[in-house]
């Protein structure tokens, strides 16, 4: 279902062809990184820290090296020392510890052997002695005065030189006078919230195959969200020239932000060089959960004031994000993500805090779900207190073009109001709440980004086209590239072959992240197509003996007054006679990614004996700008919703007192399965982004922002209990119900 602002009249944009890579994925022929085998390849096993924080006193590999089948072992000593200011420094330390283990599961050494069993046996024989250090596991511990350092090399960012600290960033944002506005408000609600670390839960573990040649050149096949990033970071960590590493993207079995960084490739490359053989490295599920990047946990305090008419007058919020053992910007981004409502007075203080837990990574709209959970919960409390419809309260305060985000920058054209109105008019919201159930509503925002993309469009002799881009397809982007090409050139979408090309076959392209691929790489595809159309008109003019400006390109053919139209295929078959092959490339650094809003609605029941929350109906509304392929927009909305539901109701890293994750497997770290959730109904709102030729806004991330607030609000209305701790799992719900009784 779509609510279109501007009916487009496009021929291909907005249609739903079967994806070009669909057949191979459905029948199991698509090749993921772990599917590749090279003759003579070795297998890896890692030695990982058994402590959350420890000095590595010695690593003795002698016994392991002497074991059957072992061909190479690497430790931190095999890596070059980078300048601490090098942008790859932290990643380098994260892929292999140097002197200090910073979390349980931190890599200490890696073995390559002829078989997996031999590699595992040798890894177990590597003798490591540790001096165990105090571990900092929670935000409270990390921020306490005199707290031990989680990472002795961390310094506060954007601050004058100082001592090492557990603080990565401290972001105070302020406008107006929040204290005065709160003092004068008719109603003030304050709540405290917290959330555990959660994992992206991609089904495919990290995997790569690396073959280092004797000429110093290395071939890497891997699963990632950005193979140019893999090349750059691997080269940076190992001090190699970028051009000496070729990365070929394998299909990706889910990333969601978790595959925007490097774990295995530099290690496998060193092992391949040492052994002179190809090396295949595949993480176990346990390694994925213990040693790759979850989303941060958080603690938050949110106070919102409103008039009795429902006008929000002030927000006062304190937010802290636990980043794991390395600093990053998640706290700042969490503060920046406060952008949905026109708070005239705002006081916001956000912290990024280090703990001795795995280095966190992006997860769809990183940092925004935490902030939205807290703020949307308090806004719902205000709606309840004022007896206002929750959508009406949001409509009264919704940000529109020109309104300021928390960071101060005004919004461009956005579609938040349109999303709220679409939900209000939806069959779900218009239907009565089922007996025994309650309904919750919440909203979400994400910036979306542009960045660098390249595309090459080759027209083939028979009038078909091959479109090469450097954006790994994690959500149907190949189909989107083909649809935009079909619309531009005027040929059938199945006459187009979209290819995710390796690092030597297409221009540099940034990571598929920030919901950028269809926006930015799509822009590059459109630019290349438009250049080709110019050349096609020149060729047609040559064939007809007229000037190029007498040629019009309409619906896949060159039209000249008084002549029969020349189809694209008729021109390409004469390419040799009219000037040679027809190809065009475009590279750009795209600005103007349109922000995206979403509003969700859920009907739930709560079992008061078990605390189990059951979702009986769920609707997601989101502004896609223009939906190039509506099925894949809906897929992103549904995927984000389901992951958000898992985050809200079930998922959490459970650490013991020593910082050891207790549930490092999908049996105990429970992501939602099909039987847990109803069909996620979707409503695509289309408020075109003026900075894209077809109006595209990114859609991959915003959908994960509203579910936590949506479900918390539904539970509140079902039980009278405000859940403030994620996950809102049965034991926690039960405990709150007991407190309430």
């Amino acid at each position: 279902m779509t609510a279109t602002e501007n009916p487009t009249g496009y021929k291909w944009i907005g249609t739903r062809p079967v994806r070009h890579d669909g057949y191979e994925k459905v029948v199991g022929k698509a090749r993921f990184a772990a599917d590749l085998d090279l003759t003579g390849q070795l297998y890896t096993a890692y030695v990982r820290s058994p402590h959350a924080h420890a000095r590595v006193l010695s690593i003795d590999t002698a016994a392991a090296e002497a074991m059957p089948g072992v061909k190479a072992i690497v430790t931190g000593a095999d890596f070059p020392d980078l300048d601490p200011l090098d942008p790859n420094y932290d990643v380098s330390i994260n892929v292999m510890a140097r002197g200090t283990a910073l979390y349980h599961g931190h890599a200490i050494a890696a073995v390559a052997a002829l078989t997996k069993a031999e590699a595992r046996a040798a890894a177990a024989a590597v003798a490591v002695s540790y001096d165990v250090l105090p571990a900092v596991l929670t935000i409270d511990e990390a921020m306490a005065e005199g707290a031990p350092l989680a990472n002795e090399e961390n310094y506060q960012k954007f601050a004058p030189p100082g001592d090492p600290t557990n603080i990565s960033t401290h972001t105070p944002l302020e406008r107006g006078d929040a204290a005065e506005a709160l003092a004068g408000a008719d109603i003030v609600i304050e709540r405290e919230f917290d959330a555990a670390h959660v994992h992206q839960g991609y089904i495919e573990p990290h995997a790569c195959v690396v073959d280092a040649g004797l000429d110093g050149k290395a071939n890497v096949w891997c699963s990632s969200q950005g193979h140019f990033m893999i090349r750059a970071v691997t080269a940076g960590i190992l001090g190699r020239e970028t051009s000496r590493i070729k990365v070929t993207p394998a299909e990706i079995g889910g990333g969601f932000g978790g595959k925007t960084t490097v774990y295995l490739e530099p290690v496998a490359l060193l092992l391949s060089e040492k052994s002179g053989r190809p090396v295949k490295s595949v993480m176990t599920r346990e390694e994925v959960l213990r040693a790759t990047g979850p989303a941060p946990g958080c603690k938050m305090r949110v106070k919102i004031g409103a008039t009795k008419d429902g006008e929000l007058v002030a927000l006062d919020a304190w937010m802290a994000y636990s980043l794991g053992a390395f600093g990053d910007f998640a706290g700042m981004v969490g503060a920046m993500s406060v952008a949905s409502y026109k708070f005239p007075n705002l006081k916001l203080e956000a912290w990024g805090v280090l703990t001795n837990t795995p280095k966190t990574a992006a997860y769809r709209a990183p940092s925004a779900p935490h902030a939205a959970f807290a703020i949307e919960s308090v806004i719902d409390e205000i709606a309840i207190e004022l007896d206002m419809d929750p959508i009406d309260l949001r409509l009264k305060n919704a940000a529109v073009e020109g309104d300021l985000t928390a960071m101060g920058m005004p919004h461009p054209r956005i579609g938040f109001v349109e999303c709220l109105e679409a939900l209000k008019a939806s069959p779900h919201y218009q239907s009565p709440v089922p007996e025994g159930a309650s309904r919750g509503v919440a909203a979400g925002f994400w910036f979306n980004i542009g960045e660098q993309s390249s595309a090459t469009v080759n027209l083939n002799e028979d009038g078909t086209a091959t479109v090469l881009t450097g954006s790994p397809d994690i959500g149907g982007s190949r189909a989107s590239m083909a649809l935009m090409t079909a619309e531009e050139l005027g040929i059938d979408v199945y006459a187009i072959t979209p290819v995710v090309a390796d690092t030597e076959a297409v221009g540099f392209t940034d990571v598929t992240e920030g919901s950028r691929a269809t926006f930015a790489t799509g822009k590059a595809v459109v630019e290349a197509c438009r250049e080709l159309i110019g050349e096609l008109k020149i060729r047609a003019a040559t064939i007809h003996g007229v000037e190029p400006d007498q040629v019009e390109w309409i619906d896949g053919a060159a039209h000249v007054e008084g002549k029969d139209p020349l189809s694209l295929a008729q021109i390409t078959e004469q390419a040799k006679r009219t000037g040679g092959p027809l190809t065009a490339t475009a590279s750009l650094n795209a600005a103007g990614a349109g922000p995206s809003f979403a509003v969700h609605c859920a009907d739930v029941t709560v079992d008061e004996e078990t605390g189990q929350v059951t979702i009986i109906r769920y609707t997601a509304v989101q502004d896609a700008g223009t939906a190039i392929h509506p099925s894949y927009v809906e897929g992103q909305m549904q995927g984000g919703s389901v992951q958000g539901i898992g985050w809200a109701l079930n998922e959490e890293y459970i650490y013991n007192a020593d910082g050891v994750m207790q549930n490092a497997g999908f049996l105990d770290y429970r992501i939602p399965v099909a039987s847990d959730i109803p069909m996620i109904e979707t409503i695509i709102v289309e408020v075109p982004n003026p900075s894209h030729p077809y109006g595209v806004r990114g859609v991959g991330e915003t959908g994960i922002v509203p579910p936590m607030g949506t479900l918390g609000n539904a539970i509140r209305r079902a039980t009278g209990v405000r859940m403030t701790s994620m996950p809102m799992s049965p034991p926690k719900v039960l405990a709150r119900l007991s407190e309430n009784n």
């Binding site: 954007f158 601050a159 004058p160 944002l173 925007t260 700042m332 960071m407 980004i449 650094n589 991959g700």
Partner: protein, 75 residues
């Protein structure tokens, strides 16, 4: 970002000359040592409603407001 007021003695609004974001940062560095490096170390810039990841050569004029923000990536 408000973090940067640590370098400016608390001043939040500054008038700075420069035809590009990079030139503005250079002048800020002269006036507030350390601020330029902090801005270049990890900031994006919001200019005319668009966020630029590498804003060094983005042109500005007397009406331009530059919002230095955290580097944005995504998931």
């Amino acid at each position: 970002m408000a973090e940067h007021r640590r370098f400016t003695g608390g001043e939040a609004v500054l008038e700075v000359n420069g035809a590009t974001v990079g030139a503005v940062i250079n002048e800020l560095e002269v006036r507030f040592p350390g601020l330029g490096a902090a801005l270049r170390a990890g900031s994006s810039a919001g200019i005319n409603g668009e966020i630029h990841a590498e804003p060094e050569f983005v042109a500005v004029n007397p009406e331009t407001t530059i919002y230095f923000v955290a580097p944005l990536a995504g998931g």
